[in-house]
């Protein structure tokens, strides 16, 4: 259990003069669920993008299961077991929803993991079933609502069977009822097990989220980011009591 899964060391990313991510270091254990919070523009999305290789850091290193990820291509990183979702969902709008997920079942990793499932369609269908949108499998992705698009992102993530899952605002724009459902899905995914013909070990997760109440129930530990640097780190209870955090972030919500 105490094995180190991810080790981020003094990661820095500049956009012009702006240090969007500034000297960030942290570690994650296997199966751990980490919450990443911070005000808008704190650099949360940028940090996730650095981890998946969508952006290249200016300096620093990311060690995942003993391998340096900095410098690797996104598709390569994903095949090593890191999956991510997008804050502003990115569906293939003109393709049916099932095809949206099938693409995620076609990576070398996914093909290798579910070798015994003959048909890609079946695998994709099970992922949709898990996310709860299998009834719309044949519709075009352009008809999906905000909430269902978030579910599609989850279905895609499940399809790649990751060991580390990066969720960027999974509750963003969802109604309270939808938020509850999504929180349950995430919890179920983290526990792992069999979902139809799919199988999940229960990935470690980094969850970026604004809705703290929901987040606190899911995560083991929270990192607070502000202006690209880590402001505080600790269990959810510790973090909400931290005066710096209250000032920088929570205070605004209390107004």
């Amino acid at each position: 259990m105490a094995e180190i899964l991810l080790k981020v060391e003094s990661l820095t990313k500049r956009f012009g003069g702006l240090r969007a991510v500034n000297d960030v270091s942290f570690c994650m254990q296997q199966k751990e669920v980490l919450g990443l919070i911070g005000p808008n523009g704190a650099g949360k999305t940028t940090l996730l993008r650095l981890l998946t290789g969508i952006l290249k850091p200016d300096s620093g290193s990311v060690i995942f299961k003993g391998t340096e990820l900095v410098g690797l291509k996104t598709w390569n990183i994903v095949n090593r077991g890191v999956a991510c979702t997008f804050q502003n969902m990115r569906p293939f709008r003109r393709l049916p929803i099932i095809a949206n997920v099938m693409v995620y079942c076609l990576s070398p990793r996914s093909m290798h993991r579910g070798e015994w499932v003959k048909k890609v369609e079946d695998k994709a269908m099970d992922a949709l079933e898990f996310a709860g949108i299998s009834d719309m499998a044949l519709e075009k992705a352009s008809v999906l609502s905000q909430g269902d698009l978030k579910r599609l992102e989850i279905a895609r993530a499940v399809a790649t069977d990751p060991e580390l899952l990066l969720l960027d605002e999974p509750f963003g724009g969802l109604s309270p009822a939808e938020t509850d459902l999504m929180a349950k899905s995430i919890h179920r995914l983290h526990k792992g097990g069999r979902f139809g013909r799919l199988h999940s070990e229960g990935p470690a997760m980094i969850i970026v989220e604004h809705k703290l109440q929901q987040l606190m129930k899911i995560v083991d530990r929270i990192i607070v980011l502000n202006f690209g640097t880590i402001l505080a780190e600790g269990t959810p209870e510790e973090v909400v009591k931290n005066p710096q955090v209250i000032e920088a972030y929570l205070g605004k919500e209390g107004d």
């Binding site: 291509k73 598709w75 994903v78 990115r90 709008r93 003109r94 393709l95 049916p96 693409v103 995620y104």
Partner: protein, 346 residues
């Protein structure tokens, strides 16, 4: 004998169940039958010649669609593959005396190389930049060809190629069957998992990368596949016309291919093929009116696209067929209920 009848019955059942249920499938079946049966009606060398050329350009238009329609890599220099296929097979045929059966496939391999050479610098480019860069490649090759007239014949091109066969019908069947087979293969590719990835790359390349798929490799694959089929078209053209000339590389050739494909309906394969079979013969038959030819062409294309932004064939298909709202199976538009799930169609 009984066995034969059994098989015929089985075959008929399949045809009735799978083909005769949809007007679009009937049209494709008729298209195959008419092309194969045409020599029974006419053997006019002029008509045969036009259909052979149409078939060659149909392969070319479909190959553009495979690359640009599906992966969204806008290629405005598709003549490059056509020209490389034509010149390479001409050089092999005239200078190395390789017969057409060898020179056309080898010419296509040369076009695959061209696909790699163009594809690699184009991988980083998108949209307008990609379009402009691809436009430049055939022009560069033209420059090289004019600079080496001893090898390439300069303005005159390389002439004196041998044909596959001297028989009229032999040539006819060779070209239409090659066209039907290659276009079916291209359609099958787009219908496969690889085709799905091509399609997804057009929609959102970053999302495909986060699926763990090496999009670079798939984009290069699209360039190479497209180059291969276009190269075969080029080789067939050179051998049929018995000359490979600079016209195969002209900018107007590249643009005509794009217009054909978009007119017929991009990202369908059958759309561009149908478009060539409509537009190419049409323009040949108004040849006696040379000064208006281009104008007619431009107007037809313009009006079609104004009223049918998806292209002609998808528009027609939507008129004669509709999708079941429940199971997404296509039905003849005259039906009231779905032929599979019996849901109401309106």
């Amino acid at each position: 004998m009984d066995l034969a009848i059994l098989y015929v019955k089985k075959f008929y059942k399949i045809i009735r169940g799978e083909v005769l249920v949809l007007p679009s499938r009937i049209s494709v079946g008729l298209f195959f039958l008419v092309l194969i049966g045409l020599p029974l009606i006419t053997r006019d060398p002029y008509i045969i010649r036009i259909i052979i050329l149409t078939s060659i350009f149909a392969i070319l238009a479909a190959s553009w669609d495979l690359l640009s329609g599906f992966t969204g890599q806008m290629n405005f220099g598709h003549a490059l593959f056509f020209g490389v296929g034509a010149y390479a097979s001409a050089l092999l045929n005239v200078h190395a005396h390789i017969p057409p059966w060898g020179s056309v496939p080898l010419g296509a391999l040369a076009a695959v190389m061209a696909g790699l050479i163009v594809g690699i610098p184009c991988l980083r480019l998108k949209h307008t930049y990609l379009a402009l860069t691809t436009l430049a490649f055939p022009i560069i090759l033209l420059g090289i060809i004019f600079a080496l007239p001893d090898w390439t014949g300069g303005e005159l091109g390389i002439s004196g190629l041998t044909r596959f066969t001297s028989s009229l019908l032999g040539n006819y069947y060779l070209h239409i069957i090659t066209m039907l087979v290659l276009c079916t293969i291209m359609w099958k590719i787009t219908d496969s998992n690889t085709g799905l990835i091509f399609h997804a790359i057009r929609e959102d390349e970053l999302a495909v990368k986060t699926a763990g798929i090496n999009t670079t490799r798939y984009k290069l694959l699209a360039f190479c596949l497209s180059g291969f089929f276009a190269g075969i078209a080029g080789g067939l053209y050179a051998h049929y016309m018995r000359i490979a000339g600079p016209s195969t590389l002209e900018v107007s050739m590249s643009f005509t291919v794009v217009i054909w494909a978009i007119f017929g309906g991009a990202a369908t394969i059958y759309g561009p093929v149908a478009a060539v079979f409509i537009l190419f013969p049409l323009l040949e038959f108004v040849r006696f009116w040379p000064e208006y030819r281009t104008l007619i062409f431009a107007f037809i294309v313009l009006f079609t696209l104004l009223y049918m932004p998806e292209g002609l064939i998808p528009w027609v298909r939507d008129k004669i067929e509709k999708e079941c709202p429940r199971c997404k199976i296509r039905n003849v538009s005259t039906r009231k209920t779905c032929r599979i799930c019996t849901a109401g169609l309106d």
